[in-house]
Amino acid sequence: MNFWHVLSILFLSGGLFFFATATLGLLRFPDFYTRLHATGKGDTLAVFLCLIGLAFYAGFSLSCLKIIFIAVFMFLAQPTATHAISRAAMKSGVTPWTKEDATK
């Protein structure tokens, strides 16, 4: 239970919390674009925190560097994937939900 393990526990639990909010967002938000907000942002930060936590747990070694590379990769890949899906949705005519729809 040295210092690094405590740090990794902190990061991992933070990551899990943001995963939970992202998943809740995916379920509760009314419309496709708002759901993308939750998964796009939530998952990016959650994956980043979990990976950094696991990197701390792995201690300073080659696998720690590999994990950091995966973290940087996901940090750039996830928003692009969200962007690609939302662009495809808009192009094929998914109209975003607006306030009036709620009152309808």
Binding site: L16, A20, S63, I70, I85, A88, S92
Partner: protein, 86 residues
């Protein structure tokens, strides 16, 4: 520490099940892709945690790297395909 990793792993598996609800009942195709992409990121972390639990770290890191790459390419391909399907 190891049972903490077990906890995180089971938590993520439960979250995957919850996301699958959106994946199955998602009104349109796009909700399903968003759900699949979300499941993809979660399984990436589950893979790594399994690697640490069975302390075969090097093997599982390569597998999870490939998984992240192909998840990204898969989402882009699905988005590309659906974009043209008017």
């Amino acid at each position: 520490m190891i049972d903490f990793l077990y906890g995180i792993g089971f938590g993520l598996c439960f979250l995957v099940l919850v996301v699958l609800y959106r994946g199955i009942f998602g009104p349109g195709v796009y909700n399903r892709i968003a759900a699949v992409s979300a499941v993809g990121t979660k399984t990436l972390i589950i893979l790594l945690i399994m690697g640490f639990i069975y302390n075969r770290v090097d093997m599982f890191i390569d597998i999870s790297m490939v998984y992240a790459l192909l998840n990204f390419v898969g989402t882009l391909a699905a988005a590309k395909y659906l974009e043209m399907e008017k």
